[in-house]
Symmetry: C2
């Protein structure tokens, strides 16, 4: 069958077989299907979607395009978490040690940040010495030994996805639900997990702006997981404001370490990160152990509060060569002051994300360099009462010339109201519980 | 503006500006817009269509991608004809000399046949010596001097269309009305014509199977012509059976020459070709002279019957180096016999076209060679009464081994009925008259 006949079928809403999808993806990876045919196919998928059979075939052929981690069946469950991305979203650094401390194994493949959202890989790289790019054998060995290992996403896992994603990015075919789902889920399934907890975010700082869109994505992702043998549950959570206290790589590591070590000089700001980390860890434990969420929450809370999670984290970072004592945070700071009296009514996370990029803490292109030491501290949250001239954010950046642009962007991101706004709800809904 | 933003707009039904379409096409020709972006754009156009502004910008930028012929304004009108393609469709060879004999100028750019339909360029090349690939200056000079010149389609005219068409062919984006219209009309407009007559065909031997589809295409083509300053009229004509007596390159030249010279040993078969040629020529004259169709028909008929059209044809072919006396027709023939008594109820032109390809008279790929001497003679038409064993088609082919496959395909193409079928109507409708 000619590839153009296959594109035509998708264009004309005629279902493709598993063999047809497989030959398309295999040919694309091998180079016999050129980019221009794949991009036309992706656009046809944007318009006409994919059937269950097509989606499963797509995920399987993307997995088969690379290596796949396999874990021995045992009582120690293998689980991961995926977040759709947000600002200050650092829960992976806390929940993974919690789950490992509770007996699970977390083979966590981490990606870089792009656009306004951060990436776990960049955060880990702000710990000097940390080796993120391991062989799959080493990754598997460490996960088995320590209950957790972080791995930088490379071409070993799902190279078809890497190639297809780069193409979609430049052909306006990113926003296709089946393609998004296949891209996310193929990489997770290839890690060899049996269980997956999704943190699907909505709000000003998320890709999905409404809870409805977030739920739609969540259901589609869960469906792909289930049809490929992975049990999935989901939390729909708010990104209506940045998560927790810090935005920026080393600053977020500092926040996580302080939460895991039990420090709490301004607990109201740390509580949010701790709450979501515990909740997601509990969802992972509940899946892996088959226990109810209340029991799992108690176990997760105990693992965090007792310091056991931090013990795991220290061991894992140290095993990966990292030196937590060497983290560098920018010495130069600048406070952003409230322009008037009032309550903080909204904080646009996307704008804060771009302010972080201005400071060098994020990137617009995958090849942009990053300043791990810079970032933003949130001194206020939605609902905070402020007086004119009071510090509301603190900028950390040793390159003073970058501060001005970030400062004006931060001020643009905050909206004030006279009356107290409705309480901000962090965890909107559970699915698959 | 990034090209992916532009693709996204089309994908999301946001109108593009003239500048945006122009930069897309210019970039595509220059090579800065890669094939994979253009194919995604073409697929988005397949789904979402194009606005009037977009279509006009597309046509103009395709024209501007190459050279453009310009004719001096004068009383001698400049007109061309375009047919959507059929079997035995040889009218260009007769109507152009008629129009030239009536005072018009016809700068006719001719394409090769592909798939089941033939092309004027191949027919002309069956006349030994004919030089079809001229410079645009020579083309223009000859058109002015003789009232007619034939030019093979090359990369000088609308190279953007050439590149885009090749891409659409392998990305399942051919069947898009705005892209089809732009492809056809840009080349015609670039010839420097003021007037255009369209012969839009429907039926088993045409791309458009119903009169409704043919009319839809005709209206879309006419719209593009009018918005680019070319006055257009259209005949919707039948391709429910092959046109006239012969299918095949040299055989069709023979038919045209005999019609123009006044030969008529079996007039009922020549009448059809003559009738449509006169009608289309009359439509061209009516446009060019602004006279009514009845007057124009009288002029066209007189030009043909008086032999003046043939004089022009001879001069033009001779001026282009062709030697009409050297035409070679296959010596080896084989009659296809009626398998039963009855009336001919239907002749599937598409099947006959593929039979002609089997004989070497057509091609499946643009690079396939052609045997100009081979073809098929139609001894019956819809409505003909035949007896079992009577010859109904005659195959011409010097490569005897090719005959068998063609013969069985021809037999498959014919349907017989006991009662006389309804009369076949050649000219279904006029538009823009």
């Amino acid at each position: 069958m000619l590839i153009q006949e296959l594109i035509k079928k998708k264009r004309d809403k005629i279902d493709l077989s598993t063999e047809e999808i497989t030959s398309l993806i295999d040919g694309y990876v091998a180079g016999s299907v050129p980019d221009y045919q794949m991009s036309a196919f992706a656009m046809a998928v944007f318009f006409n979607g994919m059937t269950e059979v097509e989606k499963t075939a797509l995920v399987q052929s993307m997995i088969n395009s690379g290596e796949r981690v396999e874990f021995e069946k045992s009582v120690r469950f293998v689980v991961d978490k995926h977040s759709t991305g947000g600002i200050g979203d650092k829960t992976s650094l806390i929940l993974a040690p919690i789950v490992a401390a509770c007996g699970g194994r977390v083979p966590m493949i981490a990606g870089r940040g792009l656009g306004h959202t951060g990436g776990t890989l960049d955060k880990l790289e702000s710990i000097p010495g940390t080796k993120i790019f391991l062989s799959l054998d080493e990754f598997k060995k460490k996960t088995n030994e320590l209950g957790l290992c972080y791995l930088g996403q490379t071409g070993q896992i799902c190279p078809a996805d890497k190639k297809l994603y780069a193409l979609r990015d430049v052909t306006a075919t990113v926003e296709s639900l089946p393609l998004i789902c296949a891209s996310i889920m193929s990489k997770k399934i290839a890690e060899g997990i049996s269980f997956l907890t999704l943190d699907v975010k909505y709000g000003a700082g998320a890709f999905m702006k409404t809870t409805q869109q977030a739920e739609e994505l969540a259901l589609a992702l869960m469906e792909v997981g289930e049809s490929n043998g992975v049990r999935v549950n989901t939390a729909i959570t708010s990104m209506e404001q940045p998560l927790g206290r810090f935005i920026g790589n080393a600053l977020e590591i500092k926040e996580c370490v302080e939460i895991m070590k039990g420090a709490s000089n301004q607990p109201e700001f740390y509580n949010e990160t701790a709450e979501l980390s515990i909740e997601l860890a509990a969802m992972m434990i509940s899946l892996g152990k088959g226990c109810d969420l209340t029991q799992a929450r108690a176990q997760a809370t105990d693992a965090l509060k007792s310091g056991r999670a931090y013990e795991v984290f220290e061991k894992v970072i140290s095993a990966q060569g990292g030196d937590l004592s060497g983290i560098k945070i920018a010495k130069n700071t600048k406070d952003v002051l409230a322009p008037s009296d009032g309550h903080v009514a909204a904080i646009n996370g996307e704008q804060l994300g771009y302010a972080a990029i201005n400071l060098g803490a994020g990137r617009l292109k995958t090849t942009d360099p990053i300043d791990h030491s810079s970032g933003i501290e949130c001194l206020v949250k939605i609902g905070s009462k402020v007086s004119k001239g009071e510090p509301i954010f603190r900028i950390y950046c040793d390159e003073a010339n970058k501060i001005h642009l970030a400062e004006s962007r931060i001020l643009d991101a905050v909206r004030f109201s006279e009356s107290k706004p409705p309480e901000h709800i962090l965890i909107h809904k559970h699915l698959g519980i």
